[in-house]
């Protein structure tokens, strides 16, 4: 059980925050992260339209052999993606708390520009307290 990484994707599909917490993920450049986040945004848009009956909020969990991605879509279109081991049970609660930290430390900070990369010290601190320190 481990939490590997966190992404925050803005409503246009841009990666605004990315952080790794544990060894285990492939080392990627920031450019590759951006591309992956954009791709996930597209996949999510497709899954939200595939629902056979009624509307759908899209993919919640994407599971692979060695890890899973849990996606939280907010009312404003911002997506929080948590990359964890398959057995990790707390992914959803952690994502809710990340959303809370985002609302507090990012959206209420006058020095943050919406839809732009998050460079807010307070958010980093809150995430560290929540998930634990990691690498970059």
């Amino acid at each position: 059980m481990a939490i590997f990484g966190l992404w925050v994707i803005n409503k246009a599909g841009g990666l605004v925050y990315q952080r790794n917490f544990a060894e285990g993920l492939a080392q990627l450049t920031s450019n590759e992260h951006l591309v992956l986040a954009g791709t996930l945004h597209g996949i999510h848009a497709i899954t939200s339209r595939l629902s056979p009956i009624g509307s759908s909020s899209g993919a919640h969990v994407i599971e692979a052999e060695t890890f899973k991605m849990t996606i939280l879509l907010t009312a404003t279109g911002t997506k929080f993606v948590l990359i964890t081991s398959i057995a990790e049970p707390s992914a959803n609660t952690v994502l809710q708390k990340v959303y809370e930290a985002y609302a507090d430390a990012v959206m209420k900070n006058p020095f943050h520009t919406p839809e732009m990369p998050i460079r807010t010290e307070g958010f980093d601190t809150r995430i560290t307290a929540l998930i634990g320190s990691g690498h970059t």
Binding site: K108, N109, P110, T120
Partner: protein, 242 residues
């Protein structure tokens, strides 16, 4: 997602209180407020208030403090917008702090009036603080509690300058969610609080210059010092009291 569908509990509180206050609101009184000869149209429109209209904020009881609290989140968003708005219109950090101070000053004059009214209106022997230290204590405790819901954390007297006093807040409500970018590290948004303190001191007759400074430490990264630099006349008067 179901969490968003259901309305916030506070809304129901608001609507029920609006009903009860609407009953208290006497129509004859409220029309009397507007009986200016130059504005007869106002009198006719407000003469028949709708039963479900929101209660006038000015008609709420002033000494009810428990229900008069506002949402800290709403305030945080409002204050964030205030800072963003000002930031577009200033030439530098000093200018921004000065503007925040001015805004706080406008609030402070009202806070002082309200607090004195709340504490002295029922008193048979109303009094006014004329010595500086009790006044400072009352700012530390009463003003902070009225505005932020908790007393400040410490009062200190400057060792080097006898006209300087400090109020210390370990986790100021106003700047709790604000992260100052590195290139503006001198800025303290608590200048707003400094403005409040300056207005209260001014109103009590202790003219001073009040500024805010970031003084973080290990346990409290948001720790803020409100520095009060008293005018000479205040110190001279304090000497006479001795």
């Amino acid at each position: 997602m179901s969490a968003y569908a259901q309305p916030h509990p506070r809304f129901s509180v608001l609507s029920s209180s609006s009903l009860s206050s609407a009953e208290l609101l006497s129509p004859t009184n409220s029309s009397g407020r507007f009986s200016l000869p130059s504005a007869p149209s106002v009198t006719t429109t407000t003469g028949t208030p709708k039963p479900l209209s929101r209660p006038n904020i000015y008609d709420r009881p002033l000494n009810k403090t428990r229900t008069a609290e506002v949402s800290a989140a709403s305030f945080a968003f409002l204050f964030s917008e205030v800072v963003q708005y000002m930031q577009k219109r200033v030439s530098g950090i000093n200018d921004l702090e000065r503007r925040l101070n001015t805004l706080g000053y406008r609030l402070g004059t009202r806070v002082l009036e309200l607090m004195i009214w709340r504490s002295e209106f029922a008193s048979k022997t109303p009094k006014r603080e004329i010595r500086f230290l009790p006044a400072l204590m009352s700012i530390h405790t009463n003003v902070w509690r009225a505005v932020f819901g908790k007393p400040a954390d410490a009062i200190e007297k400057s060792v080097e300058n006898e006209d300087e006093y400090m109020i210390i807040d370990n986790d100021p409500v106003v700047t709790r969610n604000i992260s100052i970018p590195r290139d503006m590290s001198q800025l303290s948004c608590s200048s707003f609080t400094a403005g409040i303190v300056e207005a209260v001191l001014d109103g009590l007759g202790f003219p001073a210059r009040v500024t805010a400074h970031n003084t973080p430490n290990e346990t409290f990264p948001q720790r803020t010092t409100i520095l009060i630099k008293l005018e000479k006349s205040v110190l001279e008067r304090e000497e006479l009291f001795k």
